[in-house]
Symmetry: C2
């Protein structure tokens, strides 16, 4: 059965890729409650609820959008009920501790299930994403009272939350935040403007907790920043001094109200220690970058499904004296379709690899835990960046397969293109991710995450060699080239501006190396099921051009500041 005829059972693909991920095997050893069957059941359930409850919201979210009425945000019909439904099914807190209402499952299962929801209606799911991020924050830095009051209600869908960081003059550059918090009579009060706040106000939950970064001391930059919780409604039931000044009109994600908020002496609770606001955010930022990857994957997987189905159905071309051929029969259309699946499945495998490593960083001990943590920090900027790119590219490629139809609102792929375009911008632009990858992961940490990756790469390639020596050889060459390039880039620590000029290319080379390793993983997965066969075909296709892509990335990485001086 060819990949073009298989039933494109997405949950089965997740399960096949998960079982080919060595870290997942290790995780099941460490946790006797985990096994492939349980995972497959949860994943299938997620896909089912996402399709039944969330997907129907997607066109409505896009067409109706959100409105500001009498100072309050109105969301599209159906949001409230759907939010309750996914909360009741346990999907708001998959990886959060059972003591506060979560499922206590590994992050891996959140990462395996999340893309079904994110792809079904990315705009709506921004509320869940922000609320889950807030739950993570509270779990790590809030005191017990706050944690026990808020987290269970965030996970039950009664209350929601936001993350308030950006201001008009402080986007990527959080050190320039001007919102201030001052304490008087034991009460903190926050005054300032925040922008780009997803679900900054809405009518889906009864109360909203704004997790907000504000300046408390006189220290410049990020050192004077503290983290606060600003509830929309105070404990006595009265409204806090938070106002919505506007909803941004955006290219897409119309169903996610992106708000500008004003805080005018709003009462707040300090989360964690004063002056330690930014470090408190780090665990949450990790979750949000993984989430962006999941959003890209969810959007890509659905768009690819649409394109495959259309290509099987739509007839055009062939001998004019005979019935037209389904366009899936044309070689160039097949190439386009395989490219969609190739990008998508490599991303899925990388997301699973990242998520199991996040789990192992917590569940292993000693050096194993540290290695996994270093690997996570190294892989995160790539999953964020290429997750974003994959969502957008696959949406655009799906439009191309559909042709004129894809350009119309009759089909969902134009919305996917609009919705996905922001992924490369929020939660740290691709440029910021590339600097993180080069200056922190390689230079500052002396390539510790890289070293761990190279070990994983060698193991995967050796496992694949008996199955397909040629393809294993291709993957090996790509990884070796990346290893050599890393040595070159390491030396650029002495000329950081040259490094910065090549950072984006270097991270792309890293993604080529990840793609090589994930592709051989898909080869190892076996060919017993249609999903496994499809993944093997996709891996073969992906490896075909990977050395060429690595060559291009090397050229991009060799850019220098001098080239940018541009007489």
């Amino acid at each position: 059965m060819s990949v073009f005829e298989s039933d494109r059972d997405q949950p089965a693909r997740v399960a096949a890729e998960l079982s080919a991920t060595p870290g997942w095997r290790r995780l099941t050893e460490l946790d006797p409650d985990l096994d492939d069957e349980t995972a497959a059941t949860i994943i299938a359930e997620a896909a089912k609820i996402a399709d039944a409850v969330v997907a129907p919201l997607n066109p409505v979210a896009d067409r109706e959008g959100c409105r500001l009425e009498n100072g309050r945000v109105r969301t599209p019909a159906g949001y409230r009920g759907a939010y309750k439904a996914i909360a009741e099914a346990g999907f708001l807190g998959v990886e959060i501790a059972p003591e506060v209402g979560g499922q206590g499952l590994p992050v891996t299962l959140q990462a395996a299930c999340g893309p079904f929801f994110e792809g079904a209606c990315p705009a709506f799911m921004m509320l869940a994403g922000a609320s889950r991020a807030a739950a993570h924050l509270m779990m790590s830095v809030a005191d017990e009272t706050i944690r026990d009051a808020w987290v269970p209600r965030l996970l039950s869908g009664e209350w929601g939350a936001t993350i308030c960081i950006s201001e008009p003059d402080a986007g990527s550059d959080v050190g320039r935040i001007r919102t201030r918090a001052e304490q008087a009579d034991g009460i903190w009060r926050v005054t300032g403007q925040k922008i780009w706040i997803s679900f900054g106000d809405h009518d889906v939950t009864d109360r909203i907790g704004h997790c907000l970064l504000a300046r408390t001391g006189d220290e410049p930059g990020t050192r004077g920043l503290s983290l606060f919780l600003v509830p929309s409604i105070r404990d006595d039931g009265t409204a806090n001094a938070v106002t919505v000044s506007r909803i941004e009109e955006k290219l897409g994600l119309h169903g996610s109200p992106t708000c500008a908020l004003g805080f005018d002496g709003a009462e707040a609770v300090l989360l964690g220690r004063e002056g330690r606001g930014l470090p408190a955010l780090f665990a949450m930022i990790e979750q949000m970058r993984l989430l962006t990857g999941c959003e890209g994957l969810g959007i890509a997987a659905r768009a690819a499904d649409v394109a495959f189905a259309y290509a099987v159905d739509r007839r055009q071309g062939g001998d004019p004296e005979e019935a037209p051929l389904p366009i899936v029969r044309h070689a160039d259309v097949r190439r386009q379709l395989l490219a969609l699946d190739a990008q998508t499945e490599i991303l899925r495998a990388a997301i699973l690899e990242l998520a199991v490593s996040m789990d192992l960083a917590r569940r292993e001990e000693g050096a194993a835990a540290e290695d996994n943590a270093a690997f996570v920090a190294w892989l995160l900027p790539m999953v964020k960046t290429f997750g974003a790119e994959t969502g957008f590219d696959v949406a655009s490629g799906a439009i191309q397969v559909l042709g004129g139809a894809g350009y119309t609102r009759e089909w969902p792929v134009e919305q996917a293109l609009r919705d996905s375009r922001v992924l490369a911008i929020y939660e740290g632009t691709s440029g910021i991710q590339a600097l993180d990858f080069l200056t922190r992961r390689l230079w500052r940490e002396k390539g510790r995450g890289l070293a761990d990756f190279l070990d994983r790469a060698k193991a995967a390639i050796e496992a694949a060699r008996p199955l397909d020596a040629d393809l294993a050889g291709t993957a090996e060459r790509v990884v070796s080239r990346f290893e050599r390039l890393s040595s070159v880039m390491m030396e650029r620590e002495d000329v950081p501006r040259d490094g910065e000029a090549g950072a984006s290319g270097y991270m792309r080379a890293g993604w080529c190396a990840i793609s090589a390793v994930m592709a051989v993983r898909l080869l190892i997965a076996g060919t017993e099921t249609p999903s496994q066969s499809a993944l093997k075909a996709v891996a073969r296709f992906r490896l075909h051009t990977l050395e060429g892509e690595m060559g291009l990335a090397e050229a991009q990485a060799s850019m220098t500041a001098e080239l940018m001086e541009a007489i």
Copy 2:
């Protein structure tokens, strides 16, 4: 002065690139009325009118869109006046003969001026594009009466026109057209459905002439197709049997009503000979593919201008104790900006090269005319495809430079992304262009256009060598690799399905070769003016990664049908 500080005088860039185009020199030798100064004056005038008259329509076109009211299409406010204004300034018929109301200038000047209008409001300019295409059709196949009645009024903006080809089951595959024309009592009557008709109805002009492909004989495929003119209003002033059944809701180009039209025994005039409908369209198709390139260029050039201006203005990052830096100072932002200009200027140079060759194919004699014609046929699918890609990529890249702002409707780049996405679809998808490039240009014509390109390439590289031997060497290697790849692809004529699998990669390799040659042209242009200096910087940047891109294209070209079988 660096490219980041120059005044980004787009008309000066056109003039600089034109003067570095050898075919333009030849054209001025053949036509004593043409010189650099005249050209520069016309180009500057086009830019001025486009900015003053057309650009203000763009946000209105997008927000208001077009509506179907009582069976008629209503266009946004301001269209009628603007259309008259560009007609009066002579820009509807730059390259059309003066005897019928045109300016009688070379196609080159149309191609040099067009992008200013296309970029200013691509949706609105679709009416001009269709009407100019119809004028070309009538000039080549209509009898004198029709020609003299219609062409002057199309160019004066009194009347408009459409090109009606596609039907629900005949998109790329025109051989399956089912609309029929029958003759009775000396009158042709057309019955059928046409879809994707740009400005299929509107209120900008008083009459619309539908140039329509319909079946007249029993021969299958394209052989039974004839070309007709179906006026919206008959000569006696009564309405013809043409109805608008809907306007498509699209991702972008909202200001261009894309109509589904019904013809119910509508009276028609045969254009040209019965059964020769498709050949009659060829000259027009050539113009439309050039136009698509110009649309991509116009959108890219404006989006790049927005990104550069934003990057100079917007401050973010740098030492937290000091004022934030303009983001143009960050190496990665400079890289992004240069990439926008690099894609744009290479496309501009290629469009000028194509246009001068179209002129020379008509104005030269004998072998020189034939060589130019072969080169035009060879370059057209690439200008169409990579013009489309450039418009979309540069719009998307500009959004990235603007970050969150770029994702909002406060800035014009999100509209540019939406408007440009269709360019790779209409007038023949990129997949169709790649098949044309491989199967017709290389296989059927035995690489005649390619041979002519290689001569031009050698001349450009030798001219550049004394100025910069390194960069000339890079260009030479890229061109040589393309030449070798062409030999490999030539042999695939025996296994056409393998050829088709690699066609897209092969055409991309062709564009790398074109980019190499256009980049060295920009080097030759000199550095006397800020525009010339900017172009040189851009060329250097472009050449830096070109061998890497060629390597990737080679890998894509080596794809085989077997890889697509995908077990």
